[in-house]
Symmetry: C2
Subunit: 188 residues, 2 copies
């Protein structure tokens, strides 16, 4: 018998993503977001939700573009900092000693030192309440060669992305390999 916990934003795993944008003066900004996920295979799209009060919100609407950079677990303090500080008050890239790189496909910067980056063109803006969901078409994914397998695919054990827990507000790493997907023609 399950216990009711009420109406809460609980989903596991939840990602830890650094959303990159330029402001109206062309200054790079980055903020951490966890309310996000892939939302379409064709065209390839990712959804990320931000509050209107964030500095990034106006940037994304203005430029019709954003990036998503995925930090590795040893970079967790920088990612956590990006979720606390506001780009309206400081240059968060400079403060963290990280490098903004202009996207090749969109008018937004990604984090050079974070191992994986997605360049996204804003496709849809959906008002949901406290958060606005931005749906971005993924125009390119860029990876550090260090996180790729011999076959050129991203190796999650090398990427070591963070997992956020919404209720206990903590970060965890990625664990062991469990099994291959799409192999269970019977339920086991």
């Amino acid at each position: 018998m399950k216990k009711s916990l009420g109406a809460k934003t609980l989903l596991f795993p939840t990602p830890v993503l650094a959303v990159g944008s330029y402001d109206k003066e062309g200054r790079p900004n980055v903020m951490t977001a966890a309310w996000a996920g892939i939302c379409c295979s064709q065209p390839p799209c990712v959804a990320v939700s931000l509050r209107k009060a964030t500095y990034s919100y106006a940037n994304i609407v203005l430029r019709n573009a954003f990036t998503i950079s995925i930090p590795s677990q040893e970079q967790w303090r920088k990612a956590d900092f990006f979720g606390l500080a506001s780009g309206s008050l400081m240059d968060k890239f400079a403060k963290a000693g990280l490098t903004p790189v202009r996207g090749a496909f969109v008018d937004a910067p990604y984090v050079e030192e974070f191992p994986l980056a997605l360049e996204c063109r804003l496709l849809q803006t959906i008002e949901l309440g406290l958060h606005t969901q931005f749906v971005g078409e993924i125009l390119d994914v860029k990876a550090d060669p260090s996180i790729l397998s011999d076959s050129g695919l991203v190796d999650i054990q090398k990427l070591k992305p963070l997992v956020f827990t919404p209720d206990t507000q903590a970060y965890h790493g990625i664990g062991e390999f469990i099994g291959r997907a799409f192999t269970s023609s019977t339920p086991g």
Copy 2:
């Protein structure tokens, strides 16, 4: 210098979720989805994307409701099976030996044996291309007492959710605790 991988649906971590629904005859169905994430804090909302071709798609549109049940890593074969079989051809709950439980708040069933379940009322339906995104308001979260900490919060190390890797198509577990969120007033 990063390497371009092209326009791909790559995000880490990606969840493994069992989406529950009733068909027009009231038969329970469940399918696995990975294109999903929390999308709003107030009202609490989750987004999950399905192809129109799935049996679940019509069910959710008809009932304006769905559930999300989160399997634990030892249940990965059942979750994988739910992503391969079609509810139009069989009763997947019965085939997997799992129990559909009618939601207390919405007209959709969740998986009794999976440790966490969300009851969702369909709020918005967003056409994106191959996938349609369903935004559901989370009306209740239900948890097995076995995955709760002493303070009544979900312990991710007890839940042990699966992490899906979109390119290598594999499942991984959750790793060690890395740090507390919202503690880094400086970037470390």
